[in-house]
Symmetry: C3
Subunit: 463 residues, 3 copies
């Protein structure tokens, strides 16, 4: 038994209890039901404005929320189960850190966006935003998957949510940038934050765990559950907080076509770049999703269906090429070990999506948007900004996001290096047995390997 795991017995409970109790206290002090969630406030509003109960925003946001919720817990969770010996950790640590992040981000985002008279008022929209923020943390988790302890991951979530909140506040509230589906705030931020953490935590000896970094046949099928759910519900993700009416429907449609075109591009490139013309599950599981990322900013705009398709198509190409050619270089040259290839799925498509958003914003005309301009670009509609300057602000938003991600990720990476946090040894990466009771003495499946590995563990622990 390694020292690491013995320490986990106290460290993990300690950080879980601490974070949860601290969160409960802050909720008790600051968080209240908003005007649609409180019995008194909502019924007051009903009476004063002669409203119908059916106008509660619950009915117009909750189905989207549930799709996003599915993406966060099933989508991200199962996407990462492709690792043959890290399925428990993938789906369950995803579960743990998302469960914490949605609470913590309710506080952080609440302070920035719905803090009135010393209280944070929350409702269905804050729940969607909390899930979004936890999405960014899970993207970063993808970069460090299998190489970090749950204690490290919870600390990463604590800090990353905070940086996320500040960056999002600057983008949306200070710069007036639009980013409903989070090409910048979620994908670009989450990816480069995670890559920087991974850079700081670089493991020169990771080759000792490489044989465990692959998949088995059925772990690839589990991962496809994650992939397909992310793909399916991405239209809900991008549209979940856009303005009611045409905006939501248009965002859904753009995302739908972008993803469809991206899928064909991914299959094509996957066969093309493989020497034998075979398809690679890694590409299908990941690059086919880049079409959702790339229209995260522009999805609510008048992108046109064929514009969405072109965007998705390019994202699929770039992402697949990234998996084939860039990931190995990041590892060998830049010392960035990116377990899930988040740079290819979220990083590059996120940047492309931000640039596309800036372009489409700069091209906005009254003729195309009509009265709908108010919902999509309120600052253009009220005359305080031209379309071109909106485009420029969008571009600056990307730069600021990259800055926050790189600086934040580096700082947090440094914090996570603290020895006491129980990071696994280089020989123990991508291995559930470090943190989990694993069915072991079973003649099927993983039985034999586990036994072998158990010896490895002893050895590495005694080093």
């Amino acid at each position: 038994m390694s020292d690491n795991t013995n320490h986990l017995r106290l460290k993990l409970p300690a950080i879980c209890f601490l974070l949860q109790l601290f969160t409960i206290i802050l909720f008790a002090v600051f968080v209240r039901y908003d005007h649609e969630t409180s019995a008194r406030l909502w019924h007051q509003e009903l009476r004063q404005h002669n409203k119908s109960k059916l106008e509660n925003d619950f009915y117009f946001r909750y189905p989207s929320f549930q799709d996003v919720h599915t993406m966060i817990f099933i989508g991200f969770g199962f996407l990462m189960t492709f690792l043959k010996r890290y399925g428990f950790g993938s789906v369950a640590f995803n579960f743990l850190i998302a469960a914490f992040a949605i609470q913590w981000s309710t506080l952080i985002q609440g302070f920035f966006h719905s803090f009135h008279n010393g209280k944070i008022y929350i409702g269905i929209e804050s729940m969607i935003n909390a899930d979004f923020c936890s999405g960014a943390v899970l993207i970063s988790f993808g970069a460090v998957l299998g190489k970090t302890s749950p204690v490290q991951l919870l600390l990463m979530a604590l800090f990353e949510v905070t940086f996320f909140g500040i960056n999002e506040y600057i983008l949306l509230s200070v710069l007036g940038a639009k980013d409903a589906g989070g090409s910048m705030t979620i994908h670009t931020f989450g990816a480069y934050f995670g890559l920087m953490v991974s850079r700081v935590l670089y493991r020169p000896q990771l080759d000792k765990s490489r044989e465990k970094e692959g998949s088995v046949y059925h772990s690839d099928l589990f991962a496809m559950i994650g992939t397909i759910y992310l793909w399916l519900f991405w239209p809900s993700f991008n549209s979940a907080i856009t303005a009611h009416g045409d905006d939501q429907q248009r965002t859904v449609m753009n995302t739908y076509f972008s993803l469809a075109a991206c899928t064909l591009a991914t299959f094509a490139m996957s066969a093309l770049v493989n020497g034998e013309g075979k398809l690679d599950m890694v590409h299908i599981q990941n690059a086919a999703l880049a079409g959702g990322v790339v229209v995260g900013t522009s999805g609510e705009m008048m992108l046109t269906p064929f514009g969405a398709m072109i965007a998705g198509f390019l994202a699929g190409l770039i992402s697949t090429l990234g998996f084939k050619f860039l990931t190995p270089i990041l590892d060998s040259r830049l010392k960035i070990q990116d377990t899930c290839g988040v740079h290819n799925l979220h990083g590059m498509p996120g940047i492309l999506g931000a640039l596309l958003g800036a372009l489409v914003a700069a091209l906005a005309t009254q003729d195309v948007y009509g009265d709908g301009m108010t919902d999509v670009f309120p600052l253009i509609a009220d005359g305080s900004r031209t379309a071109t300057s909106q485009g420029v602000f969008q571009f600056f938003a990307l730069l600021i996001t990259l800055g926050f991600a790189v600086v934040g990720g580096s700082l947090v990476g440094a914090v996570l290096k603290i020895r006491i946090l129980g990071s696994p040894l280089d020989t123990q990466c991508f291995e559930d047995q470090i943190y989990w009771e694993v069915p072991a003495d079973h003649p099927d499946g993983y039985g034999h390997m586990m036994a072998v590995n158990s010896e490895d563990q002893e050895r590495s622990a005694s080093i």
Copy 2:
């Protein structure tokens, strides 16, 4: 070939045909489309009340219904696939008995709640309630999982639905208790009913099947599909039939935060109670869900977000401790063999939820609820009851539920002991091969074990 299985050839078809045909006849005689489902009635209502088609309650309940439906068939079904050799039985018997229970409970609940002029009128709300009732049956199924034949299970569903209907009627209609998410009617009832059935069917020789009671690596991942879906959609479960508007949104939010806090408590306790500091998949798969159970009664009340968190946190602690310390005692001392640990996931958290509901009801004030009091506590709002007496009635509701569960479960357990129902031998528990054509002569996966077991079967059959 054992005698049991040969008999199944006629018994299972016989009971399926009998129950289904009987149900069809009762539906033909009694069941009619309600005012929102019938073409004539709804269009009459549209004309008379100058309504819009979009006010049909379908649009305000159906998304919740589909989430609940997913929990019943995917959630419960896959949660139980953790057993390495009972995956087919887990997901498919769950499917079978739920498919029967939703039909039967439409009748039973219809007689109690929507019987007018000799007819039962049904619509989207009756579908949700039918799914709820089948949830209770599936909880009981969890207690006896792997130790009962499908014939026994269908009979259990037949009787349990009936007891459920009576208990629910007494609680909601006679006592005026509130229990929208079913801490009492569904979880407490289903758990203790199943535990009593399991007690009556106690198998002193079950150790002969113990080696099959565990999981393999991938069966634990299949189970996580069930867990995560239950966790995700629990907010929809608790809110599916609460009043429109703030009530639904508040219930969703309370459940969301309760579950999040419960998850952290579960991970913490799981690491703490394990000697080596490792996490146990059984805890994560089950105890992390106790946060949904515990706010089943109080979720629609003004519990406050931090109140929900405290409830969920405690539920996670209790549930994990139950799995570690109580389940073995139930088995050895009380002769209750609880395959899925429903006592920890549904039993104790259900009781805690009922008590919490009584407490929060007793604390209700006009100041906090405003005009919304009518929706949450109509009997307090119209002055026919004080908050304190509502709390007392809630408490009595718990006692009555426990009574019905214990008496009902004992009686039904006695019925299920009838020899002809084809209960598996003690050596054949947790084994799909008794009831299923299983891929057998395959070099991968389960091939070898199955062959070995086949001999076991012959032997036990000839005893």
Copy 3:
């Protein structure tokens, strides 16, 4: 390495790029946002008709759309993963061809149904219809599963979508037939189209791959994910494009009860037809779904709940019997190799559903439908047709569908025989290794078999 796979390196990218670019160009020329999706048009409508943003049809169709979307990509995709060595191909080729089909059918259906002033206007309803059309293609895919290259499948989708569009136009717009859930347009058409393709592509030497046509324990569990999702969301499928209000709610309810009764019938028949009284996963995975198919036409009509149950019950019986007795005959006598048994799940229940629809239509009376007649049978309501003649038209619609399916399938089958399309050898069917990088040198799972098979491949390639 076989010649086939080497060629795939260029062929698959070529056809993907070609189809996608061609589609993008057609979208650029023809496809525009409709009046609810365009910022300008919707806000114009809001102003002119004094509407609320919340009346956008997005809110009343999107949850149904997402359920249908889940059925197409998760439901169909995972249902087909039952094959032990074709899991990647099942879920991923399903993904590929559906991603293409939804784009292509948006164009084809758009030309027939929403072509105004030289443009196709699209919104949420066209997205549902596109998913429906891709459902038909995926049904045909089920018939040829494991025996066709992805290049062949994309070509099949290209042509089948076109035939589908013509047939659907004739049924709905020319004949005025009703078929909201697609018993005819989707299930009957997709099944017989696929069976004819399979007939033309008959492989007399398929026995060489038979050992690979089975399942392993966990592949059957993956398939159950598909089954349960299809079962769960079928009510949404049948109701997704019916009229608002009672129609949608009634369709949901009819489908719900039909499926429940079908499930009991399936379990009963499965045990009955098996010599040892054991249940067969193939039946549960497939026949239990026939209850959704059989009410595809009549679901929106005043079928009554018990009528729906009878229909589902019969569908379950017929479908299970078909798997047991008809599929082997189709293969041996009619030379139709039906991998997934689509004849039993979609073919026969589809025809039964069409006949049931004709019957229920012929029995429609003003007394039963009231003012709701306008929504269900507009041509009866406005006096241009009697109920009987509506029934007759429904029946002709079935005949025309069968005609289009048989002729279309035969023609497309002939096209797919072109040698260059890279059809797998008879020894290589049901085998992922032909098209995929498969985790191979791994001691677990499929490692050993794959190695053996690799030699097979060499040999067959050199023949």
